[in-house]
Amino acid sequence: MKRYKDIVGDAGSNIIGQVSEQQARLAQRLASVEHVVAVVSGKGGVGKSVLTVNLATALAEGGLTVGIVDADINGPAIAKMTGLRGRRLGLGEEGIEPPIGPAGLRVMSMDLLLPAEAAPVIWETSVQSNAYVWRETMEMGALREFLADTRWGRLDFLFADLPPGADRVPNIVELLPQLSGLLFVTVPSEVSQLAVKRSLSRAQGLGASILGVVENMAGYFCRECGKVGPLFEGGEAVRAMAEEAGVPYLGAVPFDPEVARSADAGAPHVLARGKGPAAEAMRKIAETIRVSVMSNPSH
């Protein structure tokens, strides 16, 4: 009796062909994007999205063309942080026209598709119960469409702001074989480091390119006295963790309430108030990433 491998193709749906077509469409769209960087954290609340927006803005201010795809389908934040919430998406012949944000950033986010501020992402289905069976696949499908159907044009950098969790790493690595590298964000707390270590291990196990680790909220910047004081215990622990993992430590960004205020106002901190230590740190990290990625032919 014939076995699976003896039968060429399927019964007529050509499911594998349809999936291949999706991948080809994605590859074709991203052919005009020089470098794709995925921003990852182990846990939520470490400031990953704020950092993504500021790094992207810093590179754009330096003369590069930059886009951000908000890969956090259920907790999208990038549209708000770039002042684009409520902006209308255009439908052109070649795909969706992304709205243009500060410094010319091109942004695509689920937030641009939701009807109201408090609207959650709900998928139409007859089986809301046990939705874990298919929801993650649906979310990856949505991300694939955001990447493939957005008319990014020519970009020097495209940042993908991933939702937190080690499980997101294999998903993005599989979806984007052309990924230039993963950028890990942690705060100095032991809990956050523990989680980011797991994400790092997962990425290393997959052989993914790792750009390095950014230590966010490394100290508190007081605007009254102009000094940076401690916020978490730990000292050099994040740097030591990065060294132990064999990945670059890209720098520390102090917590500055102005960074959060700027994000809420939709004006990235590096753009609006460029002179604090947080802005300087983020600019320096952006430059390190630019040099690292653009000087490496494999990226």
């Binding site: 039968i7 439908l91 089986v127």
Partner: protein, 160 residues
């Protein structure tokens, strides 16, 4: 997934798709040798899993429209205040406006009032895609008018 006719030792071929009805899709297969027919009936989770892959059972005839998967499956939750109820209303309005601007693209004469009314029962954001798919289906089969029967035939065979 592949299906083998055990008697003939031949792979079965897709013979039609019906549904989804209450979350279940019926997919018919026929043996090209002995014409034996079977039906695969999916449960709602299986149906949803296939949908989440962004593929079409029965095969895809046209390239996917931009954000097709998201547009088709994101639930219409109703708007808040002045916000439109449909998250894709702006996109759809633009697509329809573009269609109207195009040269002689009106196909309204093709549709019987009953078929048109049936199309209007579909959610706003899927209507342009559904219209195009049904018109393509009708053209391929040489139908001069799109009646309710043609809509039903397209729906069962294309898997809408």
């Amino acid at each position: 997934m592949k299906f083998l006719c055990v008697l003939c030792n031949e792979p079965m071929r897709l013979d039609g798709v019906d549904g989804p009805h209450e979350g279940s899709v019926t997919v018919f297969f026929r043996c090209p040798e002995c014409a034996h027919q079977i039906a695969l009936l999916t449960n709602p989770w299986e149906t949803q899993l296939v949908k989440s892959l962004g593929v079409q059972v029965g095969g895809r005839k046209d390239p996917a429209a931009p954000l097709e998967q998201v547009r088709t499956h994101l639930a219409d939750q109703g708007g808040a205040g002045d916000a439109p109820a449909c998250p894709f209303s702006a996109l759809v309005a633009e697509a329809e406006a573009r269609q109207e601007r195009g040269p002689s693209t009106s196909t309204s004469g093709l549709w019987t009032p009953e078929a048109e009314a049936r199309l209007q029962r579909a959610p706003a954001f899927v209507r342009p895609m559904a219209r195009q798919a049904i018109e393509t289906f009708a053209k391929e089969r040489g139908y001069e008018r799109i009646t309710e029967a043609v809509v039903e035939e397209a729906r069962s065979q294309v898997g809408m």
